[in-house]
Each structure stands twice: as C-alpha cells, then as structure tokens.
C-alpha cells in the first residue's frame, strides 16, 4: 500500500519485519508461561517432597518383639478367667507383665532397680493396652507364652529410624548407653522392627508420639463436615435459588448480592470471632464441640455455596426454563423440575470445594476452642473434639522428635482427604455434565 | 412420477394443476371435434354450442394461471416442479388459443353453409381430426410424462401442413374458377388456416412436454412443410 506498487505490501521488508516481531513476541510469551508453570510445579514438588519424606516415617513405628507369659497370678485373676474379667484388670499389671518379659529377655534380674528403671524407658506407656487387647481377644492364651510385638518408647523410635545419630554423646541423647546397648542387642536378635502405626488413625491426643493419633480429629472433622453439608447445602441452595429466580431485582437484592460476595472474602478468623461471640457466649453452646465448629464453618462455606449455585443456575440454558413455562409449568415447577436438577452437578462441585476449604480451616476453630488436647472420642457433635488441621497445628508446636513426623503424616492424611474431595468434584462435573 | 414432497399439500396443489391442464386439454379436444362437427353438419346450433363452451376454457386458463402464480409465490418451486409450473402456464395459454381457433371455425359455419364443394370441407375435417389426434397424444404424453410420444407428435405436424398446402391451392383454384365461391372459400381457407395453426400449437405443446420431462429445450429443427406463404397461383398455371 505504502510501497510504490511494484512489490505487494505483505512481501515488503517492513511487513516481513513485523511478522518476525510478532513471532518473537509469541515465542517469548510462551516461554514465560512455561517457565511460570515449571516454577509452580517445582514449588509443589518441593512441598510434597518435604512433607512426604518427613511424614512417611510417621506411618510406621518401632516395635519390639518379646515373649510374654500371661500368668494368671501376675494379672491377679483365676486361671480360665473370661474376657470380661481380663478387661477389668488394671493396666499397670499388664505393663508389669511386659516389663517383666523385657527384663527376662535382657537378663535383668528382679530387684535390680537401676536397670529395671532404665529398661522401662525402652517400652511405650501404651503396652498395657496392647497386651490387654491380645488377651481379651483370646482368653485361652492365659497361662501361655506368646511372642508379642510391643510398642517401643517414643525416645527409642528416632534412633531405630535413623533420624538421630547414635554417635551423639550420651548426654545429648534421650537414651543412655546402657539402653542403647540393650536396643542394639534386641536389634541384633531381630526383635526390633518398624511396623504400621495404626495408632495414628485410631487414637486421640497423647503426650507420647507413638500413642498419639488423628482419630479424634478425624471424627471431629467428620462431624463438622456432616453439619456443614446438612446446613450449608439447603440454606445456600435455597438462598441462591431465591436470589436468582424469584427475588425482584432492586437495590435491596443488589445489596444482598454484594454482601454475599464480600462474605466470601472475609478472613476466616473473623468467622471464628463471630462464632465465639454468638454460639458460645450468647447461645451457650459447648466450647470445643464440633457443633460450634460446624456452625462456624457453615457460615464460612455458605457464600461459596451460594455463589457456586448461582453460577450453576445461570449456566442452565434459559431455553429449558422457557420450555417448561411454555407447557404451563409454574415458575417453581420450572425451577425445581428442570433448572435445579441441571444445576446440581455445579452445585455439588461448589459444595465440595467449599467443604474442602472448610476442612482445611484452622483459625476459626482455634477461636471456638477446638484446640484443646482431646483424648477421648466424641460420642456426639456436642462433645469436645478437635479437627484435623487443628491437630496438625498442635503437633507442629510439640518438641518431641516423633511429632515432627506425625505432623507431616497428618498433613498427608489431610491432603489425601482434600484431593479425594476435589477429585470427587471433578468426577461429578465430568459425569453429570450435560450437553443441551 | 417423481417421489412425493415432504409437504403433502404441495403435491396436492401440483396434482390439481396437472389435472386442470388435462381437463383443459380434454375440453380443447372436444372443441375441435365440435367445430368440425358443426362444419360437417352446417349446424348453427352446434356452432353456438362450441362458441359457448369456449368460455369454460377461458375460465380454466384463468384459474390455472392463478394457481401457477400462487404456487410460484408460495412454494418457491425448483427443478422439475419449476418446469411443471412454467409449463402449465404456457400450456394453458396454448390450449386457450386452440379453443379460440375452434371457436373461430365454429363461427364460420354460417358463412360456409352455402359452399358447394363438400370435398374441401371434408379435407378441413381430416386436418382437424389429425390435429385432434395429435392433441390427444400430446396430452397423453403430458400425463404419462412420455417424451418419446411427445416427439412423435412433434413430427406429425408435417402431415397437417401438407394437407393444408394442397387445400390452399385447391381453394385458390376454386376461387379463380368461380368468383361466387370466394366468400365460402375464404372462410374455409381461414378455417383451414386455423386448423394449421392449431397443429403448430400442438407441436409447441409437444415441445413443452419434452422440456417438462427432459429439462432440455427442443432445438428448432422440426420439419416445416407449410409452404403457402410462398405459394403463388396464376391463372396461366392452369392452362
């Protein structure tokens, strides 16, 4: 055009230069994009590596195999006692039984108080529970000797796992040279092994890492999630349906809308303070209970559910609603028979994402007192419990070496839950995605 | 016959159009026969009948025209349908012309009634029968969508032309011989000319039928034998 007309413009040097520039710009942009993704993936990889490398050892725990003789006399029961009788025996007697077998194995005579005291440090405080369980399960074992895997003490565990060097000077170790020698003898005899840490899933809080678990936290989280689903789903969907389909469009509804959107962005700690003020101080609901946590998380999840539901409803083509109105369905029939079922995958996706968000929430739960160390399983949402992320928070502040691994292990459990939930959301979306 | 249209009302309308043409063709045939009949019988009643009957041909043509225009406007016909409707338009006007010629012949019956020479009237009648037969065949060709039959009709016009040529000479001779016969002979000449024109129109019909069936226009290579336009008869010729 600007050329004299001999060469067409698009073949001219100027046009070609523009083309090259355009290509270069595109290449640069692609490179930036790729670099950013790689960076993000790298961070993710580092995160996963640290968590998994630390957490994986939390799923196993050191056990010592010992021949335990269940003598009726030591337990203070009649030979041929029933499971019921054996259940009633005090834990201390079982503990003594375990200690006796260890001492027998290590050749520590009865009455050698110093060695006896030291050898206690090898076994966990939870061995009584283990032994009782074995015996109650099979009362016929009474009077016989059985090879039993017993939990080692939390201070032994890091040495077996190699997390603390055995070459450390004695005064900087939690176990002294004598105990180390016993441990090595046991290891030499093949009596020490890392076994699956079932306590991690079945137990509550404990001062001993080998006895601590996320069981109570899981149950607490479960109660809260159930509560969130039961409250946030109907409330959120109802509110969204009303706003989207029935509410008149005026200043008031605009205001409501803006506020809902703002609520979604309110820091979670604020919800915690609200929960503390309203549910605990005003409504006198029990502190530390999943019911309060659930209510707070419901408030937090509600905006997410409402926003997701409205988006899902808006994504349903208006032609479907028109069709229903066209055959003489009332507005409510059109909405409930056609719009809502079609929006359901989107709504559920939003709910699950909201749940996942709530599941990982810590701050508001701390505000409502769910940070307490709870040893017993809650029987109902009114009983004290804790939550998985709060448990992680608690453990991360404990000094024992064992809790470092447990913290990471709990994070892994939490991540597994979140991933499962998000995957469910994706599957739901894919599965029920409709084409119209 | 082509397959039915998805819209059945369209088929019905086309079918109506077709049957209207066929009806018109039948009427035109009857008009030719009636005119010849009136000519032979020199019956003024019969001739009046033919003249009156022409009205129904005219009204049929009008209704076909209306239907065809309506079809064109409302159905947006394509391909064979388009040819069908355009053909119907043309055929109806040709058939109406044929009817007009028949009416014209019938009108001349009174003027011819004192003609002496019955033989010439007979020849005009023969011509008319030929044309009538051609018309019948071309209508059959139309109804059967038979282009071979149409072509056959197309070629048979020569015979009519030849009859007309000889008749022309004959009538000229009569008129030269006897000036009193000029009036009836002129009327007969016009009657014969009308029949000849009808023959030409029937060949046009045949061409239209051919076009309707094949979609091609028939090239104008038809043998023409009407030489009367060049015929000059001088009294000396006879000597």
């Amino acid at each position: 055009m600007t050329d004299t007309g001999k060469t067409p413009y698009f073949l001219s040097e100027r046009a070609q230069k523009l083309v090259r520039k355009r290509y270069a710009a595109e290449r640069r942009f692609r490179f930036y994009g790729l670099a950013m993704i790689i960076l993000a993936l790298a961070f993710l990889a580092v995160l996963f590596y640290t968590i998994i490398s630390q957490g994986i050892s939390g799923f196993v725990v050191t056990n010592i195999r010992l021949p335990v003789t269940f003598t009726a006399e030591a337990l203070g029961v009649e030979p041929g006692a029933t499971a019921e009788d054996l259940k009633g025996v005090s834990g201390f007697k079982y503990t003594k039984l375990a200690r006796r077998s260890l001492n027998d194995y290590l050749g520590i005579p009865k009455g050698d108080t110093e060695d006896e005291r030291l050898s206690r440090g090898l076994l966990s405080n939870g061995v009584d529970v283990q032994l009782r369980k074995i015996l109650v399960n099979d009362p016929t074992l009474l009077g016989s000797t059985v090879e039993v895997w017993l939990l080692a003490h939390g201070s032994v565990d890091p040495f077996v796992k190699g997390q603390i060097s055995r070459d450390l000077p004695e005064n900087r170790r939690l176990i002294n040279d004598q105990q180390m020698a016993w441990l090595e003898k046991l290891e030499h005899d093949g009596r020490v092994d890392l076994r699956f840490n079932s306590n991690l899933f079945t137990e509550g809080a404990s001062a001993d890492p080998e006895l601590a678990g996320v069981g109570v936290a899981l149950l607490g989280s479960f109660f809260m999630m159930v509560l969130v689903v039961l409250l946030a789903l109907p409330l959120g969907v109802g509110a969204a349906l009303y706003l989207e389909e029935f509410a008149p469009k005026n200043r008031f509804t605009d205001l409501v809308e803006v506020n809902i959107n703002n609520l979604a962005a309110v820091p979670s700690i604020v919800f915690g303070i609200l929960g503390l003020a309203v549910f605990i101080n005003y409504a006198h609901l029990p502190r530390s209970a999943p019911i309060v946590g659930g209510l707070v998380l419901t408030l937090m999840t509600l905006p997410t559910v409402i926003i997701a539901t409205r988006a899902a409803i808006r994504a349903v083509p208006p032609s479907i609603k028109e069709a229903a109105l066209g055959v003489g369905a009332s507005k409510m029939q059109a909405v409930f028979h056609h719009v809502l079922p079609l929006a359901m995958p989107g709504i559920l996706t939003g709910l699950i994402i909201g749940l996942a968000q709530a599941m990982g929430e810590t701050a508001p739960l701390i505000m409502v007192g769910m940070v307490a160390a709870v040893f017993d399983f809650p029987g109902s949402p009114m009983d004290p419990a804790t939550a998985l992320p709060v448990q992680i928070y608690i453990w991360s502040g404990l000094p024992e070496r064992g809790f470092v691994a447990l913290t990471s292990a709990a994070i892994m459990i939490l991540l597994a839950f979140l991933l499962t939930m998000n995957a469910t959301a994706v599957i739901l979306r894919k599965r029920f995605e409709r084409r119209w | 016959m082509p397959k039915d249209h998805t819209v059945s009302a369209y088929d019905k309308e086309l079918e109506n159009l077709r049957s209207s043409i066929a009806r018109m063709g039948g009427l035109a045939e009857a008009q030719i026969a009636g005119a010849v009949d009136a000519l032979f019988k020199r019956s003024s009643d019969r001739s009046a009948q033919v003249v009156a009957a022409d009205k129904s041909l005219d009204s049929l043509e009008l209704s076909i025209e209306k239907d065809a225009i309506s079809l064109l406007a409302r159905r947006q016909p394509m391909a064979s349908d388009l040819r069908e409707i355009v053909s119907a338009l043309k055929m109806s006007s040709i058939l109406e012309r044929i009817g007009d010629y028949s009416k014209n012949i019938a009108k001349r019956v009174g003027a011819i009634s004192d003609a002496q020479n019955f033989r010439v009237v007979r020849t005009v009648g023969d011509m008319a029968h030929l044309v009538q037969k051609m018309l019948k065949d071309v209508l059959d060709a139309y109804i059967d969508q038979d282009e071979v039959k149409a072509l056959d009709v197309w070629e048979r016009d020569t015979a009519v032309d030849e009859l007309y040529n000889s008749l022309f000479r004959e009538l000229l001779t009569y008129m030269m011989e006897d000036p009193r016969s000029i009036t009836p002979c002129t009327h007969l000449l016009f009657a014969a000319k009308n029949v000849e024109r009808m023959g030409d129109h029937v060949t046009n019909l045949a061409e239209i039928v051919y076009y309707l069936v094949k979609g091609d226009l028939l090239e104008d290579t038809r043998p023409k034998s009407d030489s009367t336009s060049y015929t000059v008869l001088r009294p000396s010729d006879d000597d």
Partner: protein, 257 residues
Amino acid sequence: MIADTGNVKFTTRDVHVFYGAKEAIKGVDLDINNNEVTALIGPSGCGKSTYLRCLNRMNDTVDSARVTGTIELDGVDIYDRSVDVVQLRARVGMVFQKPNPFPKSIYENVAYGPRIHGLATKKSELDEVVETSLRKAGLWNEVNDRLDTQGTALSGGQQQRLCIARAIAVSPEVILMDEPCSALDPIATARVEELIDELRENYAIVIVTHSMQQAARVSQKTAFFHLGDLVEYGDTEDIFTNPREERTRDYITGRFG
C-alpha cells in the same frame, strides 16, 4: 387489519408493549383465526416475536416488559386478573426458536406437561397421551422403539418435532411458534412445515418466521410487522402476490431500506 372470515380465536386490540421506556409494539389490532396458520413476518426487531409472546404472556417473565391493550382468547381477556397464567400457557402452547427438549427421556419430555396438569392420572393414560402426541407430531414411527433415550440425542429436526409433541401433549388450543425452523436444515424444515400444515386442522397456529418464503409456504394469513407497527395483514397469497402497502412490497421483493 381485522380478519373478516373464519372463527376468531384471538382478538387483539391496540396492543402496546414497552420494554422499560422503549415501545416495542405500537398499537396492534390483529385477529388470529382458528384452523389457520397465521404468519408474522418482518425484519429483525420489528416486534413480531414480542407480539407472539404476548399471546401466552411469556413477556411476563421479562421484568421490564409492560403490555397494554386487550388480548382476548375466546372473548376473555388473558391479562385479566382472573386468568391463571399457568393455565393460559397450557391452552396456548409454544415452540421455540432453538429446539429445547428437556435433557430427559423422550417419554418424559412429552409426559411432563400432562403430568403437572394432571391430565393423565394412570400410567396407561399417560402412555396413550405420549403416543398420540408423538404420532400427531409425526415422530412416533421414528422413536417408538427408543422412548427411553434422551430427547437431546435426537437430530435437530426430530428435537423440534419432539418439542411440538410436548406442546401438543397438554391439548392446547393455540400453538405459537417462534421461528421454529431457524436452526434446522431444509429437509427437517420441510417436515416441520408439513407437520404445521397437518396441525392446522385442530389448532390455531401463529408462527413467527424470518423467512418469508416459509411464511408463504405454511400460512393462510400473513401479517407484516415493521418497527412495532402492523403494516399489513391479509391472505398469504394476496400478501405475496399483490401486497397493498409499499413497505410490504419493498420487504417481500427485497428492496427494503
């Protein structure tokens, strides 16, 4: 502009429609006859769809829309307070521009209307309604062996006939069609047009169409709208061969604007 023949189904007088401050229909007087197809034609934005949507009060779903004037169905003003809009929409069925079957089975699509209106109480009755509706819509032979498949799995033309069957299933008196063939190919269009011609026997049909050829093919009466005015109304044949108004003539001969 007022029909002189036939039995009148809809009588509309001085109909105005406002969208907010904008006047979309500026005083339309039009009668819709029974057993006839009335086509509404005109350029985009001429108000033909808006007018159509007054007839079953579909405009009610638009917040800003306001309708004035009288629209009488069998002599009863449909905007009267005593008229239930839901019942009205059952009496005046509608078929939309884009085929919009519910994402449910073919059977459920047709059965939905009768079910919510309580037209069929027993399963056998419902089956019968579904079958007759599908038969009337000319779809039965194509789908009777797969009534359980999704309505959305059908072809575009079949979907539109399914929508027609769905509308018929509640035994309406009038069927409104808003450009029912604009998303269909010519073959499917022809089938729907044939169906419209058949349905004419039992219903009053009003069809909005962008294609004047279609209006010419399917309708007996045609109304030409322009800028919210009803410019001309008359027998389809007259409108398309000898329009009285200059604007109509210009529009149908393609000399517009």
